[in-house]
């Protein structure tokens, strides 16, 4: 059986992926601290600002998160064949059949797999949902960061109702990202074991191995 190497992911997409990983880790860790500070300074005049520092890191990571989400949105429209959005949403008959086949394959019901060079439809749709969640997370985040700015106040009040509700949604969505990360890493490892296409390394070198069509 011979394989050939295919270029799948552009440099920009790989950069997006790893900066998203970095920003999510920073945001979750500092976000937990901001919500439930696990340290307590009992000395006064120590000159340390743990909460201010954590908040600062959180906001910088938030801007990074915003930038990389914007990059992904750009790639959904202007990226390569694998990166564009219409190939991965289950709204065409072919993609819908692909989604069903993916679900059957993932739950060991069938060995037939809807092979795609890029994302399969199930994974790709989940990523689109995640990007939508990321946008909601960004809106709630900026609403909390700039509560006096008319634009964010209007948008945030319309969507969440109040600062406290915005914070609640922000916190719930953080759990979505933790949950997503866990499932994502598990499914990537699972796919990497099942199919010898080099899925895990494709996000590093951008290349996948495919059966050579004789």
């Amino acid at each position: 059986m011979t394989y050939e190497i295919e270029n799948v992911w552009s440099v920009l997409l790989r950069l997006f992926h790893w900066l998203l990983v970095l920003s999510i880790i920073a945001l979750v860790v500092t976000g937990f601290y901001v919500n439930t500070p696990w340290t307590n300074t009992t000395l006064e005049g120590g000159g340390s600002f743990p909460m201010a520092t954590m908040r600062y890191i959180h906001f910088v990571a938030g801007y990074l998160f915003a930038a990389v989400v914007a990059v992904r949105l750009f790639l959904y429209i202007f990226g390569n064949r694998q990166e564009r959005i219409w190939g991965i949403l289950p709204f065409t008959p072919r993609n819908f059949r692909g989604l069903i086949a993916n679900i059957r394959y993932y739950s060991y019901i069938s060995d037939d797999h809807d092979q795609r060079l890029g994302h399969n439809v199930l994974a790709g749709s989940t990523y689109v949902i995640t990007i939508v969640a990321a946008i909601v997370q960004l809106i709630s985040g900026y609403y909390l960061l700039y509560p006096e700015v008319v634009f964010w106040q209007g948008l945030g009040n319309a969507i969440f109702g109040s600062q406290q509700q915005g914070r609640f949604v922000h916190h719930l969505l953080m759990w979505y990202f933790i949950f997503f990360t866990f499932i994502h890493v598990y499914m990537v490892i699972w796919n990497d074991v099942k199919t010898p296409e080099g899925l895990a390394s494709s996000m590093i070198n951008g290349k996948k191995f495919k059966h050579k069509n004789a």
Binding site: T36, E44, Q164
Partner: protein, 359 residues
């Protein structure tokens, strides 16, 4: 009467000096420049005192109680010299038919010119039978008098957003004034109670500039609700430096540290409490060691509870489970991990079975 410690006499006689002090304080609360104070005084002292009609609906009279304890100016000065309070059920002399008469006379005489103050929510369920005055529902009274006002001041969280009555499941269908009245400028002064300085500031702004003050997206004047409590809090330094009261009465609490970890809602609440403070003795909840409960925000009874926790709890529909977000999150993640383990085990078992079949 001999003045006892801590008890301030109510008096309508205010010296010129105290009157100027009161107006200056209100100007400061409004964020007006010193140069505006003479204009403000002129407006206050002019013969045309605005007629104010004060309607009580579904409420506890706490907003009025708070105003009675205001002293810049005190209630006597406010009623006798600054405004013409034609109808206010708590402090008016007439009762019964006489009270109704003074209400209708005043509305007729000042049609389109009076300021309407509403205190309390308006119940709308079952045609509003939960609140009736003189045999008429609150909805009817507001629908009749509201459109004739020049401006409406919704005083307190109930009149602004429905307040405690509107807490889920809101059996009486309580609503704020802005949900029921349109076509008239409405300003919301939420709070449980709102600071009398905020009320006075709004009235003086209206007197001086003939319009209501600039408001945020929820119709709350920016001079009083432009900043979150957290941003002007005297304990903010403790927050930034990571010094917290872990529980009431502990080392941190006794030393005046930040109340964030005992559920203070200051970071999500817009109000001037840390600046204006209450009752002439310069106190407000956080200064006496209790976190903010977020009473100026819509649906505060639903969204700010539990008062001593950071975030609302999650109710998972159909299960009766009510728990805090993080414990629910950890449990869901645990279920996901178990699911992944079962999934992986099933995969291994399947491949073993296939190998056995082939063998």
């Amino acid at each position: 009467m001999e003045e006892q410690a801590g008890i301030v006499k109510l008096s309508s006689r205010v010296s010129r000096r105290n009157f100027l002090k009161g107006c200056s304080l209100a100007a400061a609360a409004l964020g007006l420049s010193e140069a505006m104070i003479p204009k403000l005084l002129e407006a206050v002292e002019s013969a045309q005192r605005p007629t104010v009609i004060w309607l009580h609906f579904q409420e506890c009279t706490g907003c009025t109680e708070s105003l009675l304890r205001g002293s810049h100016p005190d209630i006597g000065r406010l009623i006798l010299d600054i405004i013409s309070l034609d109808y206010h059920e708590t402090i008016m002399v007439p009762s019964g038919h006489q009270a109704e008469k003074s209400l209708h006379d005043s509305v007729k005489k000042n049609d389109g010119k009076f300021v309407l103050v509403v205190e309390g929510a308006i119940p709308t369920a079952e045609n509003g039978i939960f609140c009736k005055i003189a045999g008429r529902t609150a909805i009817d009274i507001l629908a009749e008098i509201g459109p004739k006002a020049a401006a409406v001041i919704a005083l307190g969280t109930c009149a602004s957003f429905g307040g405690i009555q509107a807490a889920a499941p809101n059996p009486t269908g309580a609503k704020g004034v802005q949900d029921l009245l349109s076509g008239v400028p409405i300003v919301n002064l939420p709070g449980c109670p709102p600071n009398p300085v905020t009320f006075l500031g709004t009235v003086l702004h209206y007197l001086t500039f003939k319009r209501l003050p600039n408001c945020d997206k929820m119709g709350r004047p920016l001079f009083a609700y432009g900043r979150r409590i957290h941003d002007h809090c005297e304990r903010r330094a403790h927050f930034d430096e990571g010094r917290f009261a872990e529980e009431f009465g502990d080392h941190g609490h006794k030393n005046g540290y930040c109340l964030y970890k005992v559920g203070c809602k200051g970071p999500g609440t817009f109000s001037n409490c840390p600046v204006a403070r209450f009752n002439d003795v310069d106190v407000w909840p956080v200064s006496v060691g209790h976190g903010c409960v977020g009473c100026t925000e819509p649906d505060f009874w639903d969204t700010m509870t539990p008062f001593y926790e950071r975030l609302p709890e999650v109710a998972i529909p159909g299960t009766g489970v009510i728990a805090d977000v993080d414990s629910v999150g950890r449990k869901i993640l645990g279920v996901a991990a178990a699911g992944a383990a079962i999934h992986a085990a099933a995969g291994i078992a399947k491949s073993k079975l296939i190998k056995k079949d082939k063998a």
